[in-house]
Symmetry: C2
Subunit: 330 residues, 2 copies
Amino acid sequence: MTTNAAPEAIDFADIKAAASRIAAHALVTPVLQSRSLDALVDAELLFKCENLQRVGAFKFRGACNAIWSLPAAQAARGVVTHSSGNHGAALALAASTRGIPAHVIVPEGAVRSKVAAIEMYGATLHRCAATISAREQACEQVREQTGATLVHPYADARVIAGQGTAAMELIAQGGPLDVLLAPVGGGGLISGSAIAAAALAPDCRIIAAEPAGAADTFESLRQGKRISAFVPDTICDGLRTLVGEINLRIMRAHGVEVLTVDDEETIAAMRLIWQRMKIIVEPSSAIVLAAVIKHRQRFAGQRIGLIVSGGNVDLDALPWPARPSTAGEA
Amino acid sequence: MTTNAAPEAIDFADIKAAASRIAAHALVTPVLQSRSLDALVDAELLFKCENLQRVGAFKFRGACNAIWSLPAAQAARGVVTHSSGNHGAALALAASTRGIPAHVIVPEGAVRSKVAAIEMYGATLHRCAATISAREQACEQVREQTGATLVHPYADARVIAGQGTAAMELIAQGGPLDVLLAPVGGGGLISGSAIAAAALAPDCRIIAAEPAGAADTFESLRQGKRISAFVPDTICDGLRTLVGEINLRIMRAHGVEVLTVDDEETIAAMRLIWQRMKIIVEPSSAIVLAAVIKHRQRFAGQRIGLIVSGGNVDLDALPWPARPSTAGEA
């Protein structure tokens, strides 16, 4: 886990090592339950709240593990990535925990609040055009100029091992599970979760929830090969990415099943979580509850772990009146 | 603690007894921290998240303790209260945990979502006019007809003891505190908190946060007598109540100080908590952070416990578009 290129082989020992590596920096997030949501689906739901993680997303785990895996000399040259979302912010903050430079390639048109967060955590921003090739080229250029190590958002064994620590914690905190659900975008979280669950809870089924409008993972598993031409269309902006090759391999090796969910179902689930659990989750997180609700007959009576991946919603889009309507009183 | 009239004397033993009594029903809510909020005020903040309590508010603790304090024969006749807010919902749910009837007096014009929650938890609703005298009269009538026990929202020793369990848990979970802050409306939470902190952390200062537009507690302590003519004007709907006589006595006995906060400061703090902590809090809860921000020089360098009293905001007032703007991505 300490070479310049990200190693591909990964097992539970890597997740345990990641857990030790990030322990001083990442939070042990709480596992929350809601009796009213349990009653709604007639199952026991354990929500692993990575929306309460630093940076507001599980992404901090993988970024932190990647950064603290680097040998000192390599680390000193910094890290680089081309995500303008949660991974970019996570890498920026994780780099600051080690006092090393972080470079984040930000495409034109990136949301201002996201860019502001990345900058707030101290990363150097590099602007480029909004195409994939422009992003990769800009990334390569920074690597050449600085010697920085690329930390890919999901197709990276160090990142996958870090993401797997959330499922590891959930099983330690919540006890035995019949099912573990996580969203799938690039696949860093679900592949890390699968490795952790296979080691800790071999009878637990691992299920990925994917937007129907970005179901490349579902299709890739069905067709037996990774689909690479795909135009995602979903409200779940964290899940618009194509699944990675290594992530797909791990999912296949662990028999991960994919359930697809329509955006309307995800929005309804997001609203339920806000209302009943009083936590802020983004659509890409709410999709796991939506999958359980959609398939409630199948899941009835079971003990289900759900990884709530993040809570980075643009709250500036909400109304903040001088006198919002509220429902609490003595 | 088992007579029909609520006893007035209350000490830490009552809080410990309440903790045992409610343990099977109430949640041990998490204590959350935020490094960015700590940095903002240059202090260490420990948020005791009663917004994540059942019913979405600390009120469940007091209601549950009151109900499980009753002797069986008395309990069988049920309980009654005249709050249409969190206490009404809390009493309804707490009664259902013991399988006894709950009657809630609901004044004309009460918010429909609140009334729906009380009904959902299985209470019998009794409508009356919106005046205080009509509410008290309706309450008295139900007591005469049913033999139900009145459980007052805050001026009740059983309720105060139950509310004190939140501070007791916070100190057990979070370790030593320099300061403990809680909002004050009727005073059930702050008086219970003061008793718990005095026993567990005698050097900890106890501070109540009160809206400047409902500063009857501040004025009552200043003038040395309870003010009873007061028209509250604040966004903090949970804090519009006049402080209770017994609550004021306990506050005075424990040297509780009151800090007043303007609504604008409370709204800004609420927004900060939603954004940085990814939890939903109501204005009546955010006021404690607002008080720390307002007096940050005084609190700098200290370890501060804040009781986040509830999260019952009317989310129907928020926009739930087909495609909300979000800030998370791979």
